[in-house]
């Protein structure tokens, strides 16, 4: 059985049809538990005070902001190489989700930064890369909306997405290349645990919750895009007949 059969819209709709509701419910429950744990079940940090609670949304949102771009890039490559339109539609469906997570990351980072760094914003390598990546998300969505012909819009926006990969890469790894104000990774397998369990476990939980939330939304949005494409094709056929 080949994975490529899910590039068929009917197969994709059949597979995802029964996944949407359980994933949506699971995402809601996990987020509710995670928020209660983060806000009520963790102490204030001895240095950061209660602002440490902002990191329970900032870190997962930042991870998803970058990883959603990676999903779009992989889907765009598959679309461009194999010509599967469902791949382009998955990338298109992911873009608003990634843009929203990036905006959450930027805003919560700024709100955390003001009391901790003494500034809302600095033109630091990581922050700037994330901001540029956010503009790529907006540009990608604008390009899809601006081109009437879906096949051409898919290819052009796919290429634009791949150009933006360099900024997603820097958004992830800038802290490894340059000594910037933004600290390096606190959760690192290679360097051992540097975060106490009392913060690390709810953080892992929130990361998992954000991933489930992302997948649930992505499936709903991809199904919407497939329906829109099908409806458009039927309307064109109706007009032509």
């Amino acid at each position: 059985m080949s994975i490529w059969r899910y590039a068929n819209p009917a197969e994709f709709m059949r597979l995802t049809g029964w996944l949407v509701l359980p994933l949506s419910v699971l995402a809601g429950v996990m987020l509710a538990v995670g928020l209660a744990w983060a806000l009520l079940g963790t102490p204030d940090d001895y240095q950061q005070g209660s602002t440490v609670k902002i990191l329970f949304i900032h870190v997962p949102a930042s991870m998803l902001a970058i990883n959603t771009y990676a999903v779009m890039a992989v889907a765009s490559v598959i679309g461009l190489i194999r010509g599967h339109h469902v791949s382009f539609l998955v990338a298109k469906a992911a873009a608003p989700i990634g843009a929203a997570f990036t905006l959450v990351s930027l805003m919560t980072g700024a709100i955390w930064g003001e009391p901790m760094w003494g500034t809302w914003w600095v033109w630091d390598a990581r922050l700037t890369s994330v901001l540029v990546m956010f503009f790529f998300y907006l540009g990608y969505m604008a390009l899809w909306a601006a081109v009437d012909e879906p096949e051409k819009a898919a290819e052009l926006s796919g290429v634009l997405c791949l150009v933006g990969v360099v900024f997603a890469f820097f958004a992830r790894y800038a802290v490894n290349f340059w000594a910037t104000l933004h600290q390096g990774a606190s959760l690192s397998v290679a360097e051992g645990q540097r975060v106490d369990d009392v913060f690390r476990l709810p953080l892992y939980w929130m990361m998992a919750a954000f991933y489930v939330f992302f997948v649930a939304l992505l499936l709903v949005r991809a199904r919407t895009e497939i329906r829109a494409r099908r409806a458009r094709a039927l309307r064109i056929r109706e007009v032509a007949a």
Binding site: T51, I54, I57, A100, M107, P115, V220, R221, R227
Partner: protein, 46 residues
């Protein structure tokens, strides 16, 4: 309220709730609208 960072934490969570709330609302609204539009298009075809 004695916490000096209370409004920072509140602001961060409120901003997140607004952004992700809008994302969920727009996602399910678009899905419902497109489902109805496709059903309408398929009815016309028949």
């Amino acid at each position: 309220m004695s916490d000096p960072y209370f409004f920072y934490v509140l602001g961060a969570y409120a901003a997140t709730a607004v952004i992700l709330g809008w994302l969920v609302w727009s996602t399910y609204r678009a899905n419902a609208r497109m489902r109805a539009e496709l059903e309408d298009a398929e009815r016309h075809r028949k």
